[in-house]
């Protein structure tokens, strides 16, 4: 029998670690339909059954306010799994039990998992399993995702509950409100919703979605609903406190408090907090883009060796397809892999240890003005290395508005691939003011990123703030096992989704530059396109060679350098002939406009492919292309107009 199992729990209760324990590394990561919330599934066999486990987004309530909450609620409400497993934190159980009460109002096939039991034991906290079972009416199992304790027992319980054992319906009493709940239950037509008590309670909690469905049928004074919306959670918490009084004994939690507070005192310190964050980010950067770089370089040189080896067999279309098209395409994916895996390794450590929310806390004020939160700071900072890394890291952002916003603005962060292009142009045109010119480009990059974050929020999310209601979890020592699974899941997602798009795009580019003249780039389709494209770019003072190079720059920004050298016919390292050739064809003002254009115009294919894979929609890809091109055009044109006025 196949048993579907939904894992529910607050953020930071070790839900993902427990999921890893249950299914190992055989996980499948996708997006929930229509939203950018990750859907993580996995399967495992236990005795004669298959357990199909879905790791639902962490949440504190089953209301439908944020995208994450809605995904979890809708899944449990409309497509209830055979068994729902609620994972609670044994050390701080209040919020977990609150969610459990809500869950029991919705579904009955529930198992309560008291996770982190090893930590609770160490702290001297005693938990009475039978009291919990009595009060909640569900089977309880003590587990530790760290030691593996209780995992087999949980699997046994899942099978038993799926076969109908163990359930004793407990109704949580709302006192004086019961009569109102009953009245609403009676007014709900059978054809609309079947779980009437849940719907009635949610209605009284001012749940927008349920209110929308039910308002035509319910006659009620809405001033009552205003009161019940805070009263119901209050009553639930008083149930929680009573149950904890019965089930918990032993030591209080003061010890854990002081250790955590001491670490927090340093990491979020008034003066040291931000410098410490910058040092940690520098180390992540160093590791992701520097320490790992030799592997990427090695892969790249290996591929170029292979490509020239194949070329030595002759010169025909097929050989060119293999050596320039296929190998370039594979290379285009391969070169990213070491960086992406290194990035997720480092982020995995930050996330597992509990530092990431602290980092967000420390810099939130700066990001708030851009309608983002501190959590997106780290993603954006990574963009200075590579925009693909930046976009891949947004998977950790819990708010969908923020995730989309960060994904769409991160291409404006000037990535390291753009630097060689800036260097070539500045050394040809602005050799004396190299530093100043480069600085101005990076400053513009940050300015446009901030501005765009604001504009995109206004355009698509009505200027709504991204909330920062966020838990700072207890510090934990990260386990290698979890970090490797984290790295593997997110990294392989990149290879599958973004990889195919990057590969396909490389083949198309090969086709355009090879045909019809069999490898003579000056007379290829690409050059032909460049000559059409240049009409649009004339006001900026660009010629067709530059237009064509910009087209190739879509593959990867650093390609602009090699494309210009091919189109003008100078060696890449030969700056003197490059200087004389280029400075004849465009003015200094246009050269600066070109720098601005290269900073802002369309994201490279790898970035676009990541946008597609992370947002799950071509709509955002299209928006990104059009928006960035428009911004690039406007700003470059401004440079030309103002430049001509001043000089």
């Amino acid at each position: 029998m196949v048993i579907t199992v939904g894992l529910v729990g607050n953020p930071n209760v070790g839900k993902t670690s427990l999921f890893n324990r249950l299914v190992g590394a055989r996980q499948y990561v996708a997006n929930w339909p229509g939203v950018t919330v990750s859907k993580i599934e996995g399967a495992t066999t236990w005795l004669n059954d298959t357990l199909h486990i879905i790791d639902l987004p962490g949440t504190y309530t089953l209301s439908s306010q944020s995208a994450d909450e809605k995904v979890t609620r809708d899944f449990l409400f409309y497509t209830p799994p055979n068994v729902t497993v609620l994972i609670a934190d044994s050390v701080n159980p209040q919020q977990s039990f609150y969610l459990l009460i809500e869950l029991l109002e919705l579904n009955s096939n529930v198992i309560l998992v008291m996770n982190s039991i090893d930590e609770a034991k160490k702290l001297g906290i005693k938990i009475n399993k039978f009291e919990l079972q009595k009060h909640f009416g569900v089977p309880v199992v003590f587990t530790s995702a760290k030691t593996g304790e209780g995992i087999d027992e949980l699997k046994n319980l899942i099978v038993e509950v799926a076969r109908g054992k163990h359930i004793k319906k407990v109704v949580f009493d709302y006192g004086d409100l019961e009569s109102i709940i009953l009245k609403i239950e009676k007014e709900i037509p059978d054809s609309i919703l079947t779980n009437k008590r849940f719907a009635a309670i949610k209605f009284l909690e001012e749940d927008k979605e349920i209110q929308k469905i039910l308002s035509p049928y319910i006659k009620i004074d809405y001033s009552i609903v205003k009161e019940t919306s805070t009263l119901i959670p209050s009553i639930r918490y008083s149930h929680v406190e009573n149950i904890i009084k019965e089930a918990y004994s032993g030591k209080s939690l003061n010890y854990q408090r002081t250790i955590n507070d001491k670490i927090d005192h340093i990491l979020t310190h008034k003066f040291f907090g931000i410098p410490i964050l910058l040092v940690i980010m520098y180390l992540v950067f160093k590791f992701t883009f520097d320490v790992i770089q030799p592997i990427s370089d090695y892969l790249e040189s290996l591929l170029s060796l292979l490509s020239s080896y194949i070329k030595s067999f002759g010169n025909n279309t097929f050989i060119s397809l293999i050596s320039d098209g296929v190998i370039n395409g594979v290379g285009g994916v391969l070169v990213f892999i070491p960086n992406i895996f290194a990035l997720f390794f480092a982020l995995g450590i930050l996330e597992e240890s509990g530092y990431l929310p602290r980092a967000a806390f420390v810099v939130d004020r700066i990001m708030y003005k851009m309608k983002l939160s501190g959590r997106s700071f780290i993603s954006l900072l990574l963009g200075f290395g590579c925009n693909v890394s930046s976009i891949m890291s947004t998977r950790g952002l819990p708010d969908e508005k923020e995730r989309i916003g960060t994904i769409l603005v991160s291409p404006f962060i000037s990535c390291s691939a753009r630097l060689p292009v800036y260097l070539m142009i500045t050394s040809i045109f602005f050799n004396k003011y190299k530093g100043e010119v480069l600085f101005s480009i990076y400053a513009l990059s940050i300015l446009i990123t901030a501005l765009s974050a604001y504009i995109i929020n206004k355009l698509f999310f009505k200027g709504e703030d991204v909330p920062l209601v966020m838990e700072l979890p207890r510090y934990r020592i990260p386990t290698l096992r979890n970090i490797f699974i984290y790295m593997w899941n997110k990294g392989s997602h990149f290879i599958q989704k973004a990889g195919t798009i990057i590969f396909a795009a490389s083949i198309v580019i090969w086709f355009l530059s090879y045909f019809p003249s069999k490898g003579h780039i000056e007379t290829s389709y690409a050059a032909y396109l460049g000559k059409i494209f240049v009409h649009l770019l004339k006001p900026l003072g660009f010629n067709w060679q530059i237009a064509t190079a910009l087209l190739f720059g879509g593959v990867a920004k650093e390609v602009i350098v090699s494309s210009l050298s091919m189109l003008y016919g100078f060696a890449e390292s030969d700056l003197i002939s490059a200087q004389s050739l280029l400075s004849q064809s465009i003015s200094n003002i246009s050269a600066y406009a070109l720098l601005v254009f290269i900073l802002l115009y369309i994201p490279c294919f790898a970035t676009l492919a990541s946008i597609k894979s992370e947002t799950g929609s071509w709509k955002w890809v299209l928006f990104s292309v059009l928006y960035s091109f428009t911004i690039a055009y406007i700003f470059s044109l401004l440079v030309v107009i103002l430049g001509n006025l001043i000089f």
Binding site: T61, V362, V469
Partner: protein, 142 residues
């Protein structure tokens, strides 16, 4: 009073949560009427701040905390916000240096002080304290 106005170190009781897009999340996280909240620390730029709710640390921006109405516990009123009357010092919320400074003045936990016209009197003598210091001294009304 709203939660964003409460000084760091103070403990308060929640009275009500005003309507806002995050109301349900606040309620779910344990910020419900009658629950206790301690202001743990501020971020380097003062906003957001960390609060302790049922032993969990929750960060809230000041704009978010302003939707939460709270009142001081009777035995945990910060000196900076105490009205005229007789009090006993119930706690200090600060580090070693502050404790040294304050003990030089003779003030300790359980010392009696009185406030008249906003001035602080200890053993009949008027003492002057800065606003920052006042925020770190908590009182119980007699």
């Amino acid at each position: 009073m709203t939660l964003d106005k409460v000084p760091v170190g103070a403990k308060v009781k929640v009275i009500n949560i005003n309507n806002s897009p995050i109301k349900h999340r606040l309620l779910g996280i344990g910020i419900v009427p009658n629950s206790l909240i301690e202001v743990v620390r501020g971020s380097p730029l003062g906003d957001p701040r960390v609060y302790r709710v049922f032993n969990k640390l929750i960060s809230l921006r000041n704009s978010e905390a302003s939707s939460i109405e709270v009142e001081f516990l009777n035995d945990y009123i910060p000196l900076s916000l105490a009205s005229d009357g007789e009090y006993i010092i119930s706690a200090f919320s600060a580090g070693q240096q502050f404790l040294k400074k304050i003990s030089l003045l003779g003030l300790n936990v359980n010392s009696n002080i009185s406030i008249k016209n906003g001035e602080i009197y200890f053993k009949g003598k008027k003492i002057n304290l800065g606003h920052g210091m006042k925020e770190k001294i908590f009182l119980r009304r007699l």
